[in-house]
């Protein structure tokens, strides 16, 4: 019944999944996937022609991610993250709870405006700046960091362009960008709301209830925080000592006296120590870079309607930003090469090869045979089964190749158009929301973990899974049920 290639591919795949979950000595995710891809290629299960085909698919996604990474690095080097962090903290007006909701809103809007990878690349450094400025303890940082990441990634479901996985087979199932939004916006927003509320209640005890505000001043091109220093606390050596009979500190924004110095609070001083280091922001360059980024984003849509590949526009925009920064600050592209998580791109390509091998040995045919009757029975089945299938596959071997296998399976089932469309949309919910259970489910989550590691914030798979396993399945199920109710009630 089974020939050598089937047993070989299944063995390689099982070992790869085992190593991905086990992670002996904390090995990088790309190592088991790359070794598996080489073994699959050497056995001839995936021919060279298919490898080139996959290179084309993955390179498009990789270039888009790379151009967003460039954007993120340039934003970081002009001080945007510190600027945004300070403004968000101050907008929260001393409330840690309000800050939580502002961070959620930021991550949601970033994904709507950019995409899931872009949102992670821009929102995560802002949240890291916030928790660093506030000197939050690890258990206080985690609610902001994880909730932001989960919402940023899940928020790629309402709009098709927010996630590359959404676009893979949109035309094949007879949908366009607008019909996608009309059918998906409400069900996915219900799922995202449920996930956010669950995260809020789960983390409620860990979220600091009160946070200080960090008054910002901008004088002579220097952007800094002016927090009055408590006279009783030790000062770092580089600060000048205060006068003996100093006046009570003035409110840094209003300029009015706030009475006696603030009550002794070590947290307040640690913030002052870090935040009082002024960052020099060239506001002209800041405005030019932000304008360029908005124009690049707009060009992606205009270009797409004229058939210009988005990766070309993304690359041109990235080169423009690098060139402008080089011209203004004399900083070359070296830091971009060093800071780019190349291993994630290697992971995306190698896991694609392994999953394609599963397709070649008959996984798709097997799934079609098993699920055809169930999926075609009614719309509720179509929604739950397709969403569930993509959730399982995405969490085992990433959502990009899973959507490809899912689409092959659905199109080979010979379903009628409404069932095919609801199944496809459910599979997108599975790949965008359901895939958040494990860190390998989406490239955005892997990028998030990479950014945290780079900033010496340790989050293990166990830390991550402990929360996602309770939150994501509930959000996913409610989202899939909403999709069924919304689409059947209004469209079919």
């Amino acid at each position: 019944m089974f020939d050598f290639s089937v047993i070989y591919a299944l063995t390689v795949f099982s070992l790869m999944v085992l190593f991905l979950i086990w992670k002996p000595r904390g090995i990088n995710e790309s190592i088991p996937t790359t070794i598996s891809a080489i073994l699959i290629f050497l056995a001839g299960i995936v021919p060279l022609s298919d490898i080139f085909k996959m290179l084309g698919i993955v390179s498009g996604a990789s270039i888009t991610i790379l151009s967003t990474i460039v954007m993120s690095i340039v934003l970081g080097s002009i001080g945007f993250f510190r600027y945004a962090a300070l403004n968000l903290v101050n907008r929260a007006n001393g409330s840690g709870i309000l800050l939580f909701w502002y961070i959620i809103l930021l991550c949601f809007l970033m994904t709507m405006f950019f995409n899931n990878d872009g949102s992670i690349l821009i929102s995560t450094p802002i949240i890291i700046e916030i928790v660093t400025l506030l000197r939050l303890k690890h258990h206080e940082q985690f609610p902001y960091l994880l909730s932001g990441a989960l919402v940023a990634t899940a928020s790629s479901a309402p709009i098709a362009v927010s996630n590359l996985a959404n676009l893979i087979s949109l035309k094949i199932v007879g949908l366009d960008l607008n019909s996608y939004v009309v059918m998906m916006f409400v069900p996915s927003m219900i799922g995202i709301t449920v996930i956010t509320l669950l995260l809020y209640f789960y983390f409620y005890m860990d979220i600091p209830k009160r946070i200080p505000i960090l008054p910002v001043s901008y004088v002579d091109g220097k952007f800094s925080v002016s927090i009055p220093h408590h006279p009783g606390s030790p000062r770092p050596p580089h600060h000048a000592q205060p006068p003996r009979h100093a006046h009570p500190p003035r409110h840094p924004i209003h300029g009015s006296h706030v009475g006696h110095p603030e009550p002794p609070n070590p947290l307040y001083h640690s913030i002052a120590d870090k935040a009082n280091h002024p960052i020099e922001i060239d506001m002209f360059m800041f405005k030019v870079c932000i304008t360029l980024i908005i124009l690049i984003r707009a060009s992606l849509f205009i270009g797409a309607s004229y058939g210009i590949p988005t990766e070309w526009i993304g690359t041109s925009g990235a080169l423009l930003l690098i060139g402008y920064r080089w011209y203004q600050k004399g900083v070359g592209p070296y830091d971009i090469v060093m800071k780019t998580p190349w291993h994630i791109i290697l992971f995306a390509f190698s896991i694609y090869v392994v999953v394609y091998a599963l397709h070649n040995i008959g996984l798709t045919t097997l799934l079609v045979g098993l699920l055809r009757e169930l999926v075609s029975a009614n719309y509720l089945n179509a929604s739950i089964i397709s969403g569930g299938l993509l959730t399982v596959m995405s969490n085992l071997f990433n959502n990009l190749p899973s959507v490809m296998i899912g689409t092959f399976t659905l199109t080979e089932m010979g379903l009628n158009t409404p069932t095919l469309q609801i199944s496809y949309l459910a599979s997108i919910i599975g790949s965008d929301i359901g895939s958040l259970i494990t860190p390998i489910g989406t490239l955005a989550t892997l990028i998030w973990m990479f950014i945290l590691r780079e900033n010496q914030i340790r989050v293990t798979w166990a830390d991550y899974l402990k929360i996602t396993i309770m939150v994501i399945p509930i959000g996913l199920l409610i989202s899939l049920l909403s999709l069924y109710g919304w689409v059947e009630g209004l469209f079919f």
Binding site: L88, M112, F113, N178, V181, Q241, G259, P263, I294
Partner: protein, 56 residues
């Protein structure tokens, strides 16, 4: 059209969220002000300031 509208709305909200907020006192500072107006604490604060050794 629908997509573009959503993107423009997101962009506007993002701008509002990330721009410097209108200055206002925080809960934290309101309490500081109340604290500072409590005359019963004046002696303790003065005592604290004068009893500290201070070197320039």
């Amino acid at each position: 059209m629908l997509m573009s509208s959503l993107l423009i709305i997101s962009g506007c909200f993002l701008y509002w969220l990330l721009k410097p907020p209108v200055p206002q006192y925080s809960i934290y500072q309101k309490e500081e002000i109340l604290y500072s107006k409590d005359s019963s604490l004046d002696g303790e604060v003065t005592g604290c300031l004068t009893s500290q050794s201070y070197t320039r």
